[in-house]
Amino acid sequence: MDTTYKLPSKLKLFAIIFMVVGAIGMITGFLTAPKTIEDVKAIEASHHSDGHGEEDATATNDAGGHDAADAHGAADAHGGDAHYEHVLHQMQNRPWSALYIASFFFFMIALGTLAFYAIQHASQAGWSPVLFRVMEGITAYLPIASIIIIVLLLLSVFHVNHIFHWMDPDLINPESDKYDKLIDGKKGWLNGGWFIVRAIIYLAGYNAYRYFSRKWTLNQDNANDNRWFKKNFKLAAGFLVFFIYTESMMSWDWIMSFDPHWFSTLFGWYVFAGMMVSAITVIAMVTIFLKSQGYLEFVNDSHIHDLAKFMFAFSIFWTYLWFSQFMLIWYANIPEEVTYFITRIEDYNLPFFGMLAMNFVFPLLLLMNSDYKRVNWFVIMAGIVILAGHYIDVFNMVMPATVGKSWYIGLPEIGSLLFFFGLFVYVVFSALTKAPLLAKGSPFMGESKKFHY
């Protein structure tokens, strides 16, 4: 029987439309970002008159007073143009941050799938080999995501954008009045060169594992013995050690360093939990989609059930880490730590608490019942909410540090999300056509096909 997937031209078109629409949104976001403080004043004035302003009454009065009295706003009691300059930087950061968040989110899915895939090999799991090709399809997005991430990081290092505050050279210059002793103390780790070298090490490691594991499972398909299977086992075990160290450092570098004064010792785990739950959700969704198209006839409801169990379990694991991080900081109430959550609760109240409902309460109640985990459309619905929730999670990790109060889910955010979604779908489903959907060489294939919960 022919088990090779053929990419429907409709799906291709669908992905391309998403990319084009997303790109238009993104570019519009960049073009409409204010360029001078005059633009900011105009935006704030129109927002306040529309009644959209989220700032307090004094700020409204200030802005209103400005427009009436003095077009240049030079003589402001609150420090002249400093406020507008600050907001200008936030608004200029916004399209970059939106781009960064969406690209990181889909990178996370590919990387999480790779880690999950490595766990299946290292633990010699018997239930999952029928899903290997689906996972390999999703991880095919990893090389492209890695290139995009490294380009974005290089743009930051070369000061094309300013989303990483610590990269500002004035902060570590003792002569400057912006000199920041804390950031200066961290420059051994947080400096452009070493930052990029680390990024290259992480990405080279992930992509090397992805390349060889894929190649060796394909070799195993046509092998007479288990040689490639054994090699893959050793490689997966080695990769997982590399991954768990570098994943942690990667999340400090690429996410936590947005707030360079703040740190959390379990941040790596926290990002990891979000990564795993998003990845497993995408594995389940792609599997269900392919099944609905008449492929993967060897995947049964028990496989979907197991994936849904992982979605449920990792949602709770994520909440556990979220709460562990939150409670200690809340309890201790140390100013430099608690500022992280105060910013989020005050300026990002809805996404902050909304994400908790989407990532915890929703999967907890929907996926608790054993029977519901086997209902495919139920898993898809829960999956959509979980993915949206984890996008907002990344949003909450990045945006408060880069754009502060000037956030909004608008064209740049939705455009970036659509663009990367289209790219992801295009790359993943093209990769799925490149090999039979059954990794028939796996010695556990018989067990996996018969898998029954």
Binding site: F323, F326, M327, W330, Y331, A332, N333, M368, N369, S370, H452
Partner: protein, 177 residues
């Protein structure tokens, strides 16, 4: 007096196939005694799904409620505590401190009450006389009790031998269950 046939098997796979075959012939299985839980046996026997999960959810909700009411009384109302230097004296504002207790009591209630429910539904309590008709079912044998009803006992026995039973015996039905 109604009779019951005891068929003894010495392998869980053979037992499973026998249960399916017996049900196909429309004989009534009263009970199956096994030394360990046999995966899928309840489905093969056509037993109703357990409702213990629903009770577990309800017990969990009770535990959560008890935790909230208890912590609210102890820490907020009866002897108001200044928690973490935040003397707000409000349950909701101090909730992060109570989450571990809320979680633990949810699990505690769900687990313990679920076990107690299971014992009660299974009619198990201390000093209870064992119901299994053959002590070997606590070691390495499996026993299927089939209602003889109006069937021809010899014919049923023959059929059971065919399904792999190693021993077949006829007993009077006890009335206590």
């Amino acid at each position: 007096m109604s009779k019951v046939i005891h068929a003894i098997y010495n392998d869980d796979d053979i037992l499973m196939n026998a249960v399916k075959a017996v049900r196909k012939e429309h004989y009534h299985i009263e009970e199956v005694y096994t030394p360990f839980p046999v995966h899928g046996l309840e489905k093969a026997m056509g037993l109703e799904d357990t409702r213990i999960a629903i009770t577990a959810f309800m017990y969990g909700c009770v535990g959560l409620t008890v935790a909230i009411v208890m912590m609210n009384f102890i820490m907020i109302e009866d002897w108001p505590q200044d928690i973490g230097g935040k003397p707000s004296f409000s349950y909701i504002e101090n909730m992060p401190a109570f989450v571990p207790i809320m979680f633990e009591l949810t699990v505690f209630f769900a687990a313990h009450l679920m076990v107690i429910t299971f014992y009660m539904r299974s009619k198990l309590w201390p000093f209870k006389k064992a119901e299994n008709p053959d002590v070997r079912t606590t070691d390495d044998h499996f026993l299927m009790a089939i209602d003889a009803g109006h069937h021809d006992v010899d014919q049923v026995s023959q059929f059971l031998t065919g399904t792999g039973a190693i021993e077949i015996s006829l007993h009077d039905k006890e009335d206590d269950h």
